[in-house]
Assembly symmetry: C2
């Protein structure tokens, strides 16, 4: 049949071209490590993106190559967000908070060819550099443009490369099914797993994110994404802002309330996004100082569960709507957002806050179902609880080079989220548990299984089970239930923690009081640790 | 490279499944010919869509077959909007205002297999039925469910077929590049041209339409699409409402202000869409009656140019934002929408209204450029005027079975809109003229070339040129400049109009006062009629 619609490829280069064409004078503001502000426009971003594409070409980067970033949120990270995929290469955002073992595993698994790193973040890279097998070039990004003292080699300076590059516009023809981005998520097996994104997935996700009941960002918004750019496509912020022409504000390294409040006021921020820990700290700060957030109207909060008290407090004390969101790295990442429904407009506030504490309705392109252990579908009645399965044009179809994780995908095309959920008659999703018992602290994962294994490797320990305890500041912290070996020299909490330092980042370590010695670990009928019982002991 | 995103097909069946799953109890309200209201929910719509798919199967409709509708706006038209494409067939929406010659040409060109028609609209079909070559079945849709007296044969009754059908859910696997819809647009050659839509184009268009600065419809909105459902995908209303769960209100046959005002108030309409003629009439009515539009906050107005005075009046007298939109049947249809930009928020109202009178920024998925006669690209400076070229994932790549119109598509993948435009430094589009001199009356096209040819075929006429004159109610009306043959019995306006009745619908005919006799028609240097001179005589 002739006729039909243009075979137009949905690729990321089109977003930055659009921003340059349609919103050339809209601003991007970045706070630098010194605290100074850098500001330029989407047309500047476009010109620098074109130049950076030529820098990358000069470094030998081509179609399909992985290029890593190890950076805070700022305009140069944004330039990489557009230049790498526009060249047909893959942006691999490295989590700057990872422990070195995970970091080197990830870089080697991804076979990153080049790593772009902030000058303030070279330490962790220097430590793992001897183990990295694929990296041919480090590029340092510094405020002053000076080469720092470092063992990383070969090393180039970002701005020197940029100054030397041509500014010819040379965009290759891309296919929308080309890979464009890569992000690893921690797993219980101890091996992080990679989610490889396609241009098409990101493009469709961007349109979806811009819809009214999703992020709903428009040209008149000023967005501050407190969420790090190494988190799951920065929750779409770079893409949606370029597409709709919203002003972007990056806070850089300092995301303390003392720094964010004046930034939000000075730049007229209307909209911010981040994990609950950020906003609980902010709320305390505003109460202590009597301050306010200026023009801010909405906060999208996700990454872990948002306490109802926080939603109420922001609304009552500041008139700000907290929009509770849920997503996964594997989903690009948006899965659901919670907006007040038409039928709830007349509800008393108390009942509204109850509804808003759930994580919302499925996003427009995301299909969901709940299944029991036997794979049978469960009803959306708010009571039936089972594992959440999802599918859609923004969900990965497998992990990158990871055949072992194939069981997270069903034969008929669904992704097993590992989350245990209910969905009520209003189609509002509630996350009730996790199938894999990960601990989420300050928006980051801690693998309970990894920690158990490490503790059990400690002299004098027989067995150990790690579960999460709720924490007002960090959302969750790990608690280790430890059974000591009889007849052995009994290890003390400090010794166990010292042992864990070899395997975990400092922020992941349990506090001494969270190492609890017990006689035996309760087990289920099939002999597995019964973590439900342990959790109930904590409650 | 493994990993990557699911190969998930963007098809229309997923929209109605989503509406059923996520928004089952949201309402669809339709005013019937009697004035009675029909109301049901998205879950009812879904169940009826499933049943209607089985009706269509029973009529022999399968993949790729064209099924026509000849109907007003109501819930049964909506059922067809989802059932036909969900079956893999093609919804061909027929314009109920077309003259019979065009109508029979279109049905035959599309090779429609079945026509669904409202009982109140059988007359025009009876007239052309003897000429229709492909139609195997007529289905009448009536309020009472009674078979009317008609010569159409074979004829079935919609509700009888529905009552007899199975309600098994049987959705075939579709490809997103399958055709799903067909709509013809009038051309100056006299042959209407077909735009054939794909599932993917409609799906991407729907996401785009839901973005904040586009239609921006959310779950809490109540939409009244006054625009007919036979106009270019009903401006996306059925799809966007199903996707976001907005309540839909259909006015049926009567779109007079006297009927619309109480409907909008009773159903809590927040948002309406239609051509300028509707809203200029509405404004007059509200002034005369002192009435108001209840909860309405926004009107999307497109199809022809919106006078600035109307934008000002709705804002000042009713606090309602008129959103000026531009699009084309060939573009699915949205091309641009005008929303106040951040930089304009501090402008004086007068300057704001000036900016809002343009037709807005290019839609997120639509690329635009302006070219001169030699195909050279022109700057976006608000002065340089040339033909607008567009491309994107929602734009047709050719007309359906129409090799003659191939010159409207460039070799490098752009569609020539035929509109002469400027784009200013804020990327705001302004339509300044049409390359093909069509006349747009009440949102419908009248071909000036066709009318000229018909007049010149009238006894006693030597030559004739038809141009548009501005009209407060209809936007434009045709004016015919006629040169009478010397020595002939001079024809009177009434005789010319009587002659035109054979070729044009009643609403297309010029008024007697708009037949103007002149000595000769001004011509350009290459011998063509100089319509600019004629227009300036009218001004």
């Amino acid at each position: 049949m002739d006729g039909l619609i243009m075979d137009y490829q949905l690729t990321i280069d089109k977003m930055i071209k659009r921003a340059n064409r349609v919103f050339p004078d809209k601003e991007i503001v970045s706070v630098l490590p010194s605290g100074a502000k850098h500001r330029y426009t989407y047309s500047d971003l476009y010109r620098r993106t074109v130049r950076l594409m030529n820098v990358l070409r000069g470094l030998g980067v081509g179609r399909g190559h992985r290029v890593a970033t190890f950076m805070w949120n700022d305009y140069r990270h944004l330039e990489l967000y557009f230049a790498i995929p526009s060249l047909g290469a893959v942006t691999h955002t490295l989590n700057i908070r990872l422990f070195s073992e995970q970091l080197s595993y990830i870089v080697n698994h991804a076979e990153d060819m080049v790593i772009f790193a902030d000058a303030t973040l070279l330490g962790p890279l220097e430590e793992i550099a001897p183990q990295l097998k694929s990296v041919r070039q480090y590029v340092v990004v510094s405020e002053e443009g000076k080469m720092p003292e470092t063992s990383l080699s070969p090393l180039a300076d970002y701005e020197t490369l940029m100054a030397d590059a041509e500014d010819d516009e040379d965009f290759p023809e891309l296919s929308e099914t080309d890979a464009c981005g890569l992000c690893y998520t921690s797993g219980t097996t101890g091996k992080p797993k990679g989610a490889l994104y396609s241009h098409r997935g990101i493009y469709v996700h961007t349109l979806m994110a811009g819809m009214v009941d999703m992020l709903g960002i428009g040209e008149r918004d000023v967005l501050l994404p407190v969420v790090p750019m190494f988190h799951a496509n920065a929750w779409s912020a770079p893409f949606i802002c370029a597409m709709v022409g919203a002003k972007l504000v990056y806070a850089g390294q300092n995301v303390q309330p003392e720094a964010l409040v004046p930034l939000m006021q000075e730049e007229g921020v209307t909209f911010a996004m981040g994990v609950p820990t950020i906003w609980s700290g902010m709320l305390q700060h505003l109460r202590q100082t009597g301050g306010n957030l200026g023009r801010v109207k909405k906060l999208v909060v996700g990454g872990s569960s948002v306490p109802r008290a926080m939603i109420e407090a922001f609304k009552r004390e500041h008139g700000i709507d907290i929009i509770h969101a849920w997503g996964m790295t594997e989903m690009s990442p948006l899965g659901s957002l919670n907006r007040l429904l038409g039928k709830m407009e007349d509800w008393p506030e108390d009942r509204q806050f109850g509804a808003l504490s759930r994580v919302g309705k499925p996003a427009p392109c995301v299909e969901m179902k709940i299944v029991d252990d036997a794979g049978r579908e469960l009803p959306w009645d708010g009571r039936s609880s089972g594992e959440l399965l999802v599918r859609g044009p923004t969900v990965i179809r497998s992990y990158y080079k990871n055949a072992e994780a194939a069981d997270q995908f069903t034969d008929d095309g669904w992704f097993r989220t590992g989350d245990v959920v209910t969905i009520d008659e209003n189609a509002l999703l509630q996350i009730t548990d996790r199938t894999k018992d990960l601990i989420k602290s300050g928006g980051e994962w801690i693998s309970s299984v990894e920690m158990e294994n490490a503790i059990m490797a400690c002299p004098g320990v027989m067995e150990a089970a790690v579960v999460a305890r709720p924490d007002a500041k960090w959302d969750e912290r790990p608690v280790a239930f430890v059974v000591r070996q009889p007849d052995a020299d009994p290890p003390q909490p400090e010794q166990i923690i010292a042992h864990l330092r070899n395997h975990f980042a400092k922020w992941q370590l349990p506090a001494p009081a969270d190492i609890r010695f017990i006689e035996h670990i309760p087990r289920t009928s099939v002999g597995k640790f019964d973590k439900k019982v342990l959790r109930s002991q904590l409650a």
